[in-house]
């Protein structure tokens, strides 16, 4: 297993390098002169030149690239143009909020979605199956920001079960959980919809496999056929979908953070976009790239846990 993880890490390295290069080029190629954006139209030519010098923008592209790579590799993402604080520090302050939101919605999606999909497959075309399919259709058809507004209206404003604005202090666990509930459920609903659908169809496929007939021919009780013989095989495509969807989840968390007014990476990135904080934007893109690569790595490792055929390759 350790060899398998090391191999996967080795494969992840070139991916990261490629992503960093693209981020670098993306920011450099984007229209507009950062120096002029920062200082405004009325700035003098000397002041612009001085700032370019300071930011390293007058160096040739390859030199800027080398500077950028060295900076990232040394674990430094630079400072925000706006607040002049280190970007890593700004990220570290809000990262726990985004992580707790993502983990909570992922948990809701998997813990509810997988059993829902299994029961749905077992009672194919029964009333429960229709119910689960309607739920997942609803989850799939509502954009995250629409369901977020609806939830706020119903559960926060009408019923007053949860706070409208979700930024709670870190030191009050109960208030923090209450603040987390609606955003997490909002994001989790979409996850749940995907997971339910994939689990259902993959379970139906697996149940007609030859080895399920073998298990039944051995006299394995029906419940154990489902949980021990079918489920692990059926989970392989579910892991794929969850892994792919993690990226979407992080994207959707931006919208959710805005609607619920939660601190987090999403709010940071929107703020940086509004203020044209180039260095911050560049830093955040690197952070996102790292997160996605990490998610893929976790997905691959989960495959290794579920499917013995993966480890040997």
């Amino acid at each position: 297993m350790i060899g398998f993880i090391l191999k996967r890490l080795l494969v992840a390295l070139p991916t990261l390098l490629a992503v960093l290069t693209i981020v670098f080029l993306f920011v450099r190629v984007a229209p507009g002169d950062p120096a002029m954006v920062i200082l405004g139209d009325s700035a003098s030519q000397e002041a612009l030149e001085a700032l370019r010098q300071q930011l390293g923008l007058n160096k040739p592209l390859w030199a800027q690239y080398v500077d950028f790579m060295l900076m990232v590799l040394s674990g430094d993402l630079g400072k925000s143009m706006l607040t002049s604080r280190p970007i890593l520090q700004e990220v570290a302050e809000v990262l726990p909020y985004t992580v707790e939101l993502t983990v909570a919605s992922l948990t809701i999606g998997v813990v509810v979605g997988v059993p829902l999909g299994i029961v749905s497959a077992k009672q194919r075309n029964g009333w429960f199956d229709y119910f689960a399919r309607v739920i997942s259709l609803v989850g799939l058809s509502f954009p995250a920001f629409v369901s977020a507004v609806l939830m706020l209206l119903i559960f926060a404003i009408e019923l007053r079960w949860f706070p409208v604005i979700s930024s709670a202090a870190l030191d009050d666990p109960e208030a923090r959980l209450r603040a987390l509930a609606l955003p997490a459920f909002n994001l989790g609903l979409i996850m749940l919809a995907y997971v339910t659908r994939v689990t259902r169809s993959s379970m139906l496929g697996v149940m007609s496999e030859d080895y399920i007939r073998t298990a039944r021919a051995k006299g394995v009780p029906g419940r154990m056929v489902v949980w021990r013989h079918a489920l692990r095989n059926a989970l392989i495509p579910v892991v794929t979908v969850v892994g792919l969807y993690l990226g979407v989840l992080i994207g959707n968390s931006v919208l959710t953070e805005i609607v619920f007014n939660r601190p987090g990476l999403g709010k940071l990135i929107v703020g940086a976009l509004n203020q044209r904080d180039y260095t911050m934007l560049q830093g955040l893109m690197v952070i996102y790239a790292f997160i996605i690569v990490l998610c893929n790595l976790l997905t691959d490792m989960t495959y290794g846990l579920i499917d013995p055929r993966v480890k040997r390759q």
Binding site: E209, D210, Y211, R213, T214, A215, R216, A217, K218, G219, V220, P221, G222, R228, H229, R232, N233, I306, D307, P308, R309, R312
Partner: protein, 335 residues
């Protein structure tokens, strides 16, 4: 149960499948008996109902799509047809086991082979982990899996087809069943491996004193292992006889054609003798004899009424369903 009582007694089994909302019989009125230690070969082309017969005995006909419409399946004197699913789970893999055709897909890819063999010992014998492992290891040795102890915790994808079929056999033997149903267990294997697996099956049958139903489309395989042969065509039994009688005197035109279609190295023929035409569709069975359209001996009466299974006058153990070649005494009337 007396010494003579059959371990497996199938009486008038009819299994139906739903095609376009209507139920059609895939197996119609099949009866056979199996004595202790006896091997019966069920022979016929694809779709003749031989696998469905075995799956019906196991009560593994896919629910919803198929059903046992009538008949009895007496295993050691007990009728399996009315049993509930939990009752049936106690019988499967315990008193009756089944081996399937495809060793590559019949083992669960995410569970170790050792676990898959030990599993039925746990459910049927209530053995603990260590004891089940010890018993399963002995089974591995018995089916001649080399370095069994080392390979016990391997996964199916690390095994070859022949080795996987040995695992399947070990699994089927685990609880010392009275009857073993082998559904084309060697068809998917290389010829040399086929011979080894066949020899192994014959050996464990002796060692365990099991009765065996051996399903195949290959009459050549049958000769070496079976005591009796039952030939099926389009869901019906068309001929049943002791193994020697089938080869010495194939009586039903279909059996005859089947035997002729075996390629032989000792005869100087240049082409294969195929049987012309096709098996009629399950939803479109003719009124008379089901083989009539492909039969060289067909007479007008064959197309009018379906022939009964009859006993040959000089051999009461040789039954044939044919107007032209059959005897006078109907077997069904006797039962």
């Amino acid at each position: 149960m007396s010494e003579q009582a059959p371990v497996l007694d199938v009486q008038g089994l009819t299994t139906e499948f739903r095609v376009h909302g209507e139920w059609h019989a895939a197996v119609r009125g099949v009866s056979f008996q199996l004595a202790r230690g006896e091997t019966l070969a069920i022979v016929g082309e694809s779709g003749c109902g031989k696998s469905i017969t075995a799956l019906s005995v196991m009560r593994l006909v896919p629910q919803g799509a198929g059903r046992i419409a009538s008949g009895r399946v007496l295993l050691e004197g007990r009728d399996l047809v009315p049993l509930s699913e939990p009752e049936m789970e106690k019988v499967r893999g315990n008193r009756v086991s089944m081996i399937f055709q495809e060793p590559m897909t019949s083992l669960n890819p995410v569970l170790t082979v050792g676990f898959q063999v030990a599993e039925s010992l746990h459910y049927h014998r209530g053995l603990g982990r260590a004891e089940a492992r010890r018993t399963a290891l002995a089974l591995f040795d018995q089916v001649k899996i080399p370095s069994a102890a080392r390979r016990f915790d391997d996964y199916p994808h690390q095994f070859s087809g022949g080795m996987r079929q040995r695992v399947m056999i070990a699994m089927a033997l685990a609880c010392n069943p009275a009857v073993l149903l082998a559904d084309e267990p060697t068809t998917a294997l290389d010829v040399t491996i086929q011979a080894q697996v066949l020899a192994l099956l014959a050996e464990v049958r002796e060692a365990y004193g099991m009765a065996m139903v051996f399903i195949t489309h290959n009459l050549g395989v049958v000769a070496s292992i079976a005591d009796r042969v039952m030939v099926m065509y389009a869901g019906e039994v068309v001929e049943t006889a002791p193994i020697d009688a089938v080869f010495a005197r194939p009586t039903h035109p279909y059996t005859e054609a089947l035997l002729r279609s075996i390629p032989r190295v000792d005869r100087n023929t240049t082409e294969l003798q195929a049987i012309g035409g096709q098996v009629p569709a399950i939803s479109n069975m003719p009124a008379g004899c089901r083989f009539a359209d492909r039969c060289a001996l067909v007479e007008p009466r064959c197309r009018v009424q379906s022939p009964p299974l009859t006993m040959l006058p000089d051999d009461p153990r040789h039954h044939v369903r044919c107007w032209v070649r059959g005897g006078e005494t109907s077997v069904e009337a006797l039962q």
